[in-house]
């Protein structure tokens, strides 16, 4: 019987040390993908687009993945916009990154989307990041969550890990952000229609973009 209690005590100590070690060595977001790069180079990339190249209207959206309004717009308005404007060939939608400095992991999330995009899964990853947006409220390091989201988006995790560790698209994201600064982007989401900044007093809905598209198409005849 005494031997049993000795086993219990030893097991408790071993498990306690294991839990302590696990809490100390949890996965961390690679710095290269979290922070701004020291230098910026234009790689010619101008954002992922949805819709046909022949569409007369192009909406450019400057987006921050940690921004709750962007998530709300993506999950509530975007499905209707896709159905009524993008899939019908009237509008092409371009996504540009504008990670706000107040958001700790928005640049990291943008990088995760870019690494998924390198494998042809940008939009699937974008859906995952916006649909499971609870990560943006916890303040906790989302690196492991993003891996599981990437996996759900169909991304090969080995290539994803290499991409994230290297911070391969950090300069691309910073270039997009600086471009947004030059265009006087002052918050997210900010929209441009054929290069002209759109000013909304509230979060726009699908009807607003339908009206804008109708107006541009009518004037282009």
């Amino acid at each position: 019987m005494n031997r049993f209690y000795a086993i219990v005590a030893v097991l408790a100590v071993v498990l306690g040390i294991a839990v302590f070690a696990l809490l100390r060595t949890g996965g961390t977001a690679p710095a290269a993908a979290v922070g701004a790069p020291p230098t910026v180079v234009d790689d010619g990339f101008r954002g992922y687009t949805l819709g046909q190249g022949s569409a007369r209207v192009e909406i450019t959206e400057y987006v921050d993945f940690e921004c709750p309004v962007c998530a709300s717009f993506a999950t509530i308005q975007m499905p209707t916009i896709k159905e009524q404007l993008i899939n019908t060939g009237r509008v092409r939608w371009r996504f540009r990154d504008y990670p706000l400095p107040i958001h700790k992991y928005s640049r990291f999330a943008a990088h995760a989307a870019q690494c998924a995009g390198a494998q042809g899964h940008y939009f699937e990853m974008q859906d995952q990041l916006f649909t499971h947006h609870q990560w943006a409220q916890t303040g906790k390091d989302p690196s492991d969550l993003f891996r599981s989201l990437a996996q759900a988006a169909g991304v090969d995790l080995k290539a994803y890990d290499t991409c994230m560790e290297a911070g391969r698209y950090a300069q691309r994201i910073e270039f997009s952000r600086q471009e947004g600064d030059q265009l006087l982007v002052d918050g997210t989401p900010t929209f441009f229609a054929n290069g002209k900044k759109l000013d909304f007093r509230r979060l726009p809905g699908s009807d607003d973009f339908k009206a804008i598209a109708d107006s541009i198409i009518a004037h282009s005849h």
């Binding site: 306690g16 906790k140 690196s143 492991d144 599981s148």
Partner: protein
């Protein structure tokens, strides 16, 4: 007695699994260690990770503490021959098992993500339940060597 000892050891392991998940839910440590498969953060950050205002893992900590406490109490010399301790262990394990079945259903069919820590806990509570059931069928014993009076067809 061996069965009660086994339950105590299993409950101890389960307690630390639940403790890790609870501390993580409280914000201690970095991202959860989940291996290549991922899924733990998806489960832990889902709306089902909180039950009645508290992290689900907290109920695991309480449950395993209860099982461990009862199992250790049942190993006192005076309690060894008392069958009601086995009934208590089966009851506690059954509550834990049903809660685990509910959580596993959520993982598989609602959240669509599997957390290997939750799978580990599910395996532990299932084992506890099986061992507790077996203990219910065994006669009480006072021996220190686990040499229950063996009867034909009964587990030792």
């Amino acid at each position: 007695m061996r069965q009660r000892q086994a339950i105590a050891l299993l409950a101890l392991v389960g307690l630390f699994v639940a403790l890790y998940l609870w501390l993580h839910a409280l914000g201690f440590g970095g991202a959860i260690k989940c291996g290549v498969s991922g899924g733990c953060e998806t489960v832990q950050t889902s709306q089902w990770a909180v039950f009645l205002g508290l992290p689900v893992a907290f109920y695991g900590v309480v449950g395993y503490c209860a099982v461990l406490g009862v199992a250790l109490a049942s190993l006192r010399p005076l309690a060894l021959a008392q069958r009601q301790w086995n009934v208590m262990l089966v009851s506690l394990a059954s509550v834990g098992l049903f809660f685990t079945i509910y959580l596993t259903y959520l993982e598989l069919f609602v959240i669509h993500a599997i957390c290997r820590w939750c799978v580990g806990s599910a395996a532990i509570i299932t084992l506890i339940w099986i061992v507790a059931l077996l203990s219910l069928r065994s006669p009480g014993t006072r021996t220190d060597h686990g040499a229950s009076q063996q009867q034909p067809g009964q587990p030792v």
